[in-house]
C-alpha cells in the first residue's frame, strides 16, 4: 500500500485531467477572442448537437481501452442500429405522425439498439471464445458489418422518419439539445458502472493485468464479453442520434468518427494498454475537440486543416503524457521499467493484450 510508485501512478491521471481542463479553457478563450460568434448560445447549442454522437462513440472506445483492447467497429455498429431503425420506419410507412407514432418510435429504436448491441456479441465471441486480438477482431467486423450494411441498402441512404424521432437529434429542452442530455445520462451511467459496481472494478482489473485477474479467480472472458456488449450498446445509441440528426441513415455516415473517438480517449488520458480510463476526461475531451472543430471552422479553416490538427493533437498529447511520466518517475525508473515496460516494449503492448 505504501509503494511510492503506486501513489504516483494514482496521482498521474489526475494531473492529465488537470492538463486537459486547462487545455479546454485555453481553447475556449482563444477561439472566443478570435471569433465573435464563438461564445454565443447558438454556437454552444450547435456544438452540443454535434458532440453527442462523438461523445457516445468515445465512451464506447474508452470502455474497451479500459480492458486493454480497442473497438474499431463502433461506427459500423452504429450504422446497424441506425439502419435497422430506419428500415423499420420505411417498411411500416410510419413517417406520418399518428397517435401510435411515439410508441412505434420507441419500439423501433429499441429494436435497432438491440440489433446493434447483438452485433457487439460477434466481437465478444471472437475475442473471448476464439481468443482473437481485439484490434484484429474489430478491424474484421468493422469491414464485414460495413460491407453487409452497404450491400443491404445498395449504398443508399434511408429516409422517412417521423418528427418524434428527429427530435432526438435536433430538439432542445431548456436550451440544451436533447442529444446532449442523452450523452450526459450515458456518461453518468457509464461512470457509475465503472466506479461503483463490482463489474466495473473487474473491467479495470482485467485491463490492468489480465493474468493477475485470472489468478484472482475472475472470469476474464465474461468480463470482456460484457465490455464489448456495453461498447456496442453505446455505439448503437450514437447511431440512433446520428440518424436522427441527419434525418436519414446510411452505412457511410460517420466513418471518420473512429479516429476522432480514439483521439478523444487519448486526450482524456485513457491508457490504451488498459487499467485506466476516466469518463470525466472523455466528456471534457469530446467538448474540447468539438470546440476546436467549430472554432477552426469559424476562422475559415477547412475540414482538411482540422484533420491535420486532429492528428497533431493526437501525437502531441500522447508524446507529452509519455514524457512527463518519464520525467516524473525518473527516480523510480529502474523499478518501473521492470514492472511496466512503457518505453521498452511499446509495440508489444500496443495491440492491447
Amino acid at each position: 500500500m505504501t509503494d511510492p510508485s503506486a501513489v504516483i501512478q494514482r496521482l498521474l491521471p489526475e494531473r492529465s485531467l488537470l492538463r486537459l481542463a486547462a487545455f479546454a479553457i485555453v481553447v475556449l478563450v482563444v477561439f472566443s477572442l478570435m471569433s465573435k460568434p464563438f461564445f454565443t448560445v447558438i454556437n454552444f447549442q450547435s456544438m452540443g448537437f454535434q458532440v453527442a454522437e462523438v461523445g457516445l462513440l468515445s465512451l464506447a472506445v474508452m470502455l474497451t481501452m479500459l480492458t486493454g483492447g480497442i473497438d474499431l467497429s463502433i461506427v459500423s455498429i452504429a450504422s446497424v442500429a441506425a439502419l435497422v431503425t430506419a428500415q423499420l420506419f420505411a417498411a411500416t410507412g410510419a413517417a406520418e405522425t399518428t397517435a401510435m407514432t411515439p410508441v412505434l418510435t420507441a419500439v423501433f429504436i429499441l429494436v435497432g439498439m438491440l440489433a446493434g448491441t447483438l452485433t457487439g456479441l460477434v466481437n465478444g465471441l471472437l475475442i473471448t471464445r476464439l481468443r482473437v486480438t481485439p484490434i484484429l477482431a474489430t478491424l474484421g467486423t468493422m469491414q464485414l458489418i460495413n460491407g453487409l450494411m452497404v450491400a443491404w441498402t445498395n449504398g443508399r441512404a434511408i429516409y422517412g422518419m417521423p418528427d418524434v424521432f428527429l427530435a432526438i437529434g435536433t430538439g432542445t429542452v431548456l436550451l440544451a439539445p436533447i442529444a446532449i442530455v442523452v450523452l450526459m445520462a450515458a456518461a453518468l451511467l457509464t461512470a457509475a458502472f465503472m466506479n461503483r459496481t463490482g463489474t466495473g472494478l473487474r473491467l479495470k482489473l482485467v485491463g490492468a493485468n489480465p493474468t493477475a485477474a485470472r489468478y484472482s479467480g475472475l472470469d476474464n472472458g465474461r468480463v470482456l464479453m460484457l465490455t464489448y456488449l456495453a461498447s456496442a450498446f453505446l455505439a448503437s445509441l450514437a447511431g440512433i442520434i446520428i440518424a436522427s440528426r441527419a434525418a436519414s441513415a446510411s452505412a457511410d455516415y460517420g466513418t471518420s468518427y473512429v479516429l476522432v473517438a480514439i483521439v478523444i480517449c487519448m486526450l482524456a488520458g485513457v491508457n490504451p494498454n488498459g487499467g485506466y480510463a476516466t469518463v470525466t476526461g472523455v466528456v471534457i475531451a469530446a467538448f474540447t475537440l468539438q470546440m476546436v472543430a467549430s472554432g477552426l471552422n469559424q476562422i475559415g479553416w477547412n475540414t482538411f486543416h482540422y484533420q491535420i490538427v486532429q492528428g497533431v493533437l493526437l501525437i502531441a498529447v500522447i508524446g507529452l503524457n509519455t514524457f512527463s511520466e518519464q520525467g516524473l518517475l525518473s527516480g523510480l525508473l529502474g523499478r518501473l521499467r521492470r514492472r511496466r515496460p512503457v518505453g521498452t516494449r511499446p509495440a508489444k503492448a500496443e495491440p492491447g493484450p
Partner: protein, 349 residues
C-alpha cells in the same frame, strides 16, 4: 486436437502447411480457382492471370511495408496515405514544374524521397516518442492525408508528365482476346522488391534484428541490437515501400485521385495477416504475404466475374480476415495447450 497424430505424420503435415500457412493458402487459392472455374468457365483464361497480376503488383509492395512493420511487432495504418501522398505529389510536381517530367525513374526517386520523409514522421512518433504504433500511425495517416488535401491539391488529374505516361502504357503482356486486359511492366520491379525484402528479412543482420524486436524488444536490446535505430530504419523502409507502391498505383490507373487508397488499408493488412504474419511480431514471411495478396486479388476478381455487387467485396475481405485470424488464434491456443507458448491467454484478454 482430439486425436494426436504420430510425431512423424504431424511433422509431414506441418511441413506441408508451411511455417506461415503458405500451404493452407495454396490450397485455398486452388479450391477457389476450381470452384469459380466450374461456375464461370471464362475464369480459365489469361485475362484472369493478368487481372490478378495487375491487382497484386502494387498491393504486394504495400504488403511488404506492412509486413516489415508487423514482423517488428507493430501495425501500420498510414501506408496508404503515404502511398497516395507520394504518387499524387509527383504528378502535381511534374505537371507544375516539369521536374521529373521526362523520366519515370526520376519520378519514382522523388516519390521514394517523399516516402522516406513521411516514414521519418512515423519513426519519430514511434521510435522517439514511443507511441503505440496503431495510434501513432492513425495520427500520421490523418496528418499526411490532411496536408495533401489542404496544401497539395484536391483535383483529380488525368494529365500525366510524359515519362510516367509512357510507363503507364508499357505492358509486359497484352491479351488481345479480352478488352483492356494487360499486365504492366511494373510487375517486374514489384517481384524484385518482394525478393529483396525476403532476402533482407532472412539473411541480413537488419532482418534478423526486425524479427528479434518483434519477438521481444527487451531481449533484442540485451542481445545487442540497436533497437531504436532499427525501429527508425523499419519505418523508413515502410515509407519508401509505400511510396513506391503508391507511385505504381497512380501510374497504373492513369488518373491521379487524391481521395483514393486511404480507406483500403484493410485489404492489404488482411493479406499480410492471412499470410501468417503475427500481429504480436516475430513471425511472418514474404511468400505467405504474397500468397495472401494473390488470394485477396483472386477473391475480388472472382466476385466481379460472378456478378456479385461491389459491396460484397468489402464484406468478403472482412470475413476472410476474421476466418484467418480465428484460425491462427485457435492454432496458437492449441500450441498453448501443448505447453509451448503461454501467450494465448494474454493475447485474448
Amino acid at each position: 486436437m482430439s486425436t494426436v497424430p504420430s510425431a512423424a505424420r504431424r511433422l509431414r503435415i506441418s511441413r506441408l502447411r508451411g511455417s506461415n500457412n503458405e500451404g493452407v493458402l495454396v490450397v485455398a487459392i486452388a479450391v477457389l480457382a476450381t470452384v469459380v472455374g466450374l461456375v464461370s468457365p471464362s475464369f480459365w483464361s489469361v485475362a484472369t492471370l493478368l487481372n490478378v497480376g495487375t491487382n497484386s503488383l502494387e498491393n504486394a509492395v504495400f504488403a511488404m511495408a506492412v509486413l516489415i512493420v508487423m514482423v517488428s511487432g507493430g501495425i501500420d495504418v498510414s501506408f496508404m496515405a503515404i502511398g497516395i501522398f507520394a504518387g499524387y505529389s509527383v504528378i502535381v510536381l511534374g505537371n507544375a514544374t516539369g521536374i521529373a517530367a521526362d523520366s519515370a525513374w526520376l519520378g519514382f526517386m522523388i516519390a521514394i524521397a517523399i516516402g522516406l520523409a513521411l516514414g521519418l514522421l512515423n519513426a519519430f512518433a514511434i521510435a522517439v516518442l514511443r507511441l503505440p504504433t496503431l495510434i501513432a500511425t492513425l495520427g500520421t495517416q490523418t496528418i499526411i492525408r490532411g496536408v495533401m488535401l489542404a496544401f497539395i491539391g484536391r483535383k483529380v488529374i488525368p494529365d500525366y508528365p510524359p515519362g510516367l505516361e509512357s510507363l503507364s502504357t508499357t505492358y509486359l503482356f497484352t491479351d488481345y482476346a479480352a478488352i483492356a486486359t494487360r499486365l504492366n511492366v511494373m510487375i517486374v520491379p514489384s517481384i524484385v522488391i518482394c525478393i529483396v525484402v525476403s532476402l533482407m528479412l532472412r539473411y541480413t543482420l537488419v532482418g534478423r534484428g526486425i524479427f528479434a524486436i518483434g519477438g521481444d524488444a527487451e531481449s533484442a536490446r540485451r542481445a545487442g541490437f540497436p533497437v531504436t535505430r532499427l525501429r527508425v530504419l523499419i519505418y523508413l523502409m515502410a515509407g519508401a515501400l509505400a511510396a513506391t507502391a503508391g507511385m505504381m498505383h497512380v501510374t497504373q490507373v492513369r488518373l491521379a485521385n487524391p481521395y483514393e487508397l486511404v480507406g483500403g488499408e484493410l485489404d492489404v493488412i488482411a493479406a499480410v495477416v492471412l499470410g501468417g504474419a503475427s500481429i504480436f511480431g516475430g513471425k511472418g514471411s514474404v511468400s505467405g504475404t504474397v500468397l495472401g495478396v494473390v488470394l485477396i486479388a483472386l477473391i475480388n476478381y472472382s466476385l466481379i466475374l460472378l456478378g456479385v455487387p461491389g459491396a460484397w467485396q468489402r464484406a468478403a475481405v472482412g470475413a476472410l480476415l476474421l476466418i484467418g485470424v480465428s484460425a491462427q488464434a485457435l492454432s496458437a491456443a492449441g500450441r498453448h495447450r501443448r505447453g509451448t507458448i503461454v501467450q494465448a491467454e494474454e493475447a485474448a484478454a
